[in-house]
Amino acid sequence: MIVDAGRRQWIRDEAAGGRFLVDRTAFTDPAVLELERQSVFAHCWLYVGHESEVPEPGDFVTRSVGMRPIILIRDLAGELRVLFNACTHEGSLVCRVARGQARALQCFFHGWTFDTRGELVGIPGSDGYGGSFDPADYGLRRPGKVDSYRGFVFMNPDAQAPDLPEYLGRACEFLDLVVEESDGGMEVVPGSHRYSTQANWKLLAMNSIDGYHVVTAHATYLEYLRDMGIDTSGGWKVGRRYDLGRGHIAAEFYAKWARPVARWCSQFPESVRPRIEARRAELGRRHGEERAHRIADVDRNLFVFPNLVVNDHSAVLIRTFDPLASDRLEVSTWALAPVDEDPDLRALRLANYVTFWGPAGFATPDDVEALETAQRAICAEGGGFTDVSKGAQRERDADRQSNTDELQLRAFWRAWQGWMDTCPQGGQA
């Protein structure tokens, strides 16, 4: 779809009239992924990890962020850094393990050695270098910007990008509500879920913010909740959806499952009820009833464009996902929990997390099935459109909206198209 010379539009935004369409080549065209690499993944703030994953000087983790291998490391002076995991000599991976502790990082290939700040401090045969060669120019490269918001570490490849708090905008409000669950702070529980899906990353972005699919795709998970004694009648009480700008989305709702932070229900043993009620009371004393209600009694979903999900239900999930190809993505998820959490509550939290969000649980496999079959079938027509029109005509009327509307998806696509419009080639593919 070419709207004017050189400007390609993948969305047809006629929401006021009741329709919003997305060109399905957005999910299949390798040229689109290349444009995303140059725009979305080159200029947006991307979630790297949580500060609690690298608590001590010398601690590091390695992973891929925005399709680039990185090292998240706390240097020996205690400062957090993100380094590109590529030797400045011939490009080998410097750190080839998932996590560890180091006083220096040595590339196995020729022995070039970097300190924990990424500075090049050792070159075997250094007498072979001189003249304009300056080791100070050969430190491990870094993204343009690195910053942390209340423990959540982000990077932006673009040194000219707006600062992190400006980029997050109102998403900060929802991160605050998660962090304030615990006075002692929150930490990532050891262990992670890493799994791939044969689907375009944007199918998972949509799925992560969609309420429409819950009753049908997750019918058996709702059945499981009922078997555990949780009332699911009439669906969750409709809460609020927020278009936070820049493609960020939040939703609040009121489910009946137990929240270790402060809501007991029959899903949990009676023995932990006094502890949970005490925590809830403490939150009320500390934050006042109104804020404590929002922190403790309300479930929330947060999406930070392009690929970070933070869900706060009967456990807290951090999910990020990276494209591997047009039709392949990899997901990483972690559980966030209060530091020094009561061991019984921690165990219950983890069991809930695993049963709902885990790739061996009762819900995520059905999402993966939906995304993978969509990716296979999307090419059937050789074109065609995906429809995200639900609730289009009541976008501005919060009172009439349903939690199964697709307002959030339209916000995602509008933001995404905005990034496509910034591509130097004018979005031609």
């Binding site: 992670s192 791939s196 695993v354 061996a360 496999p365």
Partner: protein
Amino acid sequence: MRAGDGAAPIDRGQVEDFLFREAWLLDSWRLEEWLALWAEDGSYVVPTPDEDPIDALEVDPRTRLCLVVDDMKVLRSRVKRLMDSRAHAENPRSRTRHLIHNVRLVDRREDRVDVHSCFTVYRARSGRVDVYMGQYLHRLERWAASFRIRERRAALDLEALSPMGTISFIL
């Protein structure tokens, strides 16, 4: 050798027969019969692949994120879900073949035994064949003429759930 005869030690043949029958029940989707193999306080745990395989079977699911942490109540719900046609990830069902090998009896007592073994599970579905491999720990106790399962752990050797994205069947 009669049921409950304490004089005869648990032997490899009996244990292997039990494991091979368990595999057959899983592959033929006789999941209710598979549930009947379990003790009332049974536990099924699958650690995450990011655990070092050397330590994976020792992981404490109360403190580390795992892939499966089922007590019998959740395990029964898991089976109920898998037999429900609305479990979309398994409708149509995976074709699985659980292979058990390298069976070792560890800590053999009169009435119970820990069993370490290796598994290779092939799964065919949706035009793909996936391989899951790793090690099992079965904690078995004598029961009737056979055994029942007190604890079952499956630790994957994969580095991540890739290329398969899930474990949607019973590993």
